[in-house]
């Protein structure tokens, strides 16, 4: 579980931590039931205040990615978003609109963008999950 913080990033530290954990889950490096490093341990590793780690874990818990249990630690749930379908679709659509616009302004063609997405998708471990349509 290697977390790296970029102090130059405009993104707050707690979000960087949370995102990297989400990335590890998406890649399959962390999965259902796995234990995260303790708050104090991770705080020491990345040299931030424990409160900042707690905040990251809070965010992840509210998104349903992890579970926090007093006295025992934090664990990956293996679940994805519990939002309703309208909201999930809305968020996906927003995300893609943003992505495409930014990629366009970086000067890439639609073919470049599609290829880059495929590269990204190859790194993700999709589970065979049943989800009601």
């Amino acid at each position: 579980m290697l977390i790296r913080i970029d102090p130059q990033s405009p993104d707050p530290i707690f979000e960087q931590i949370a995102f990297q954990i989400k990335g590890a889950v998406a890649r399959g490096d962390l999965s259902d039931g796995d234990k995260l490093p303790s708050v104090r341990e991770l705080a020491k590793d990345v040299s931030v205040n424990p409160n900042t780690v707690i905040r990251s874990y809070e965010v992840l818990e509210r998104e349903g990615v992890i579970l926090r249990r007093q006295g025992s630690g934090c664990f990956i749930t293996g679940k994805t978003s519990m939002l309703n379908d309208d909201e999930r679709k809305r968020q996906l659509s927003l995300l893609m609109r943003r992505t495409v616009t930014e990629a366009y302004h970086l000067g890439f063609s639609s073919e470049d963008i599609r290829k880059s997405l495929d590269v990204g998708l190859r790194g993700v471990h999709f589970r065979k999950e049943k989800r009601k349509k």
Copy 2:
């Protein structure tokens, strides 16, 4: 040039404005040489503080999307990112990693994600530009 602020969005207003202009450029609604509304005019249109509009224009200028000329106004440059190729590729890669991770946690399959990207791409007007890979 229709800008709409979503008061429900967590994004700051200046970013929403900048992003919508970038979106208009990507769609081809605005192109090389087109003049943007004046700061005051746009501020009045969307009912925000002129300082907020100025900030949006600053962002766009820094990204090379527009050019601000003293006294005559702001114009679309029609150029994409001025970064070097390595940096552009790095940013595209980062962007896609982020996109894929978030989409995964929203509970979408790789097929859903690809389709959603295609929908996004369909809205963009790509120019036939030669650019080194």
Copy 3:
């Protein structure tokens, strides 16, 4: 907007604040678009640290009850949960099981319990909202 903290309560302060705001929304005392007191103001009113109020507001934002906008303040959204139906039903069922069990152990009959629920329901302002089943 009167918030009262019970320092004796086992519930953390930030939850007490969040819950009272949810109560005000349910009663109709606060509705769509209404502005909440500023973080500093409320912190002063209830004599707690501003960070504690921020935390309450964070919770409410994540539940979709309010919106926080830098520079302008926090506002009621007027929306209810964005969770999917399975999760909503699961939570309602858990809530009711807990409620009934506790009420039973307080020594009340099913008739008492039903009446008490009705009293509670009378205080709530239900909107005519369309929600897909």
Copy 4:
């Protein structure tokens, strides 16, 4: 006497145990004079630390649900709350206010809520007990 711990639940283990015993009493699965499993036995059954079970039993004793007798074990008292009537009514009212508020924010109608309560009540075995209102 089947106790099941939900590792997904945010509630502490000792509360889950205590609550499930209260639930069994409410359903009539356990009644006046029934003996609870010994601390060690139950701890082994649900794979938790004996201290955790002890804590659950302490909670139940404090609420009057069980009686702990040195050397002989723990027994269901069959009694409900020992609080005076004003306090009991106050607690019921608080409970219902909380329940209704949460159910409202989950997006349920008053009819949904009433139905869900009825479902919950159907699982409870009410005794014909005389108690002053």
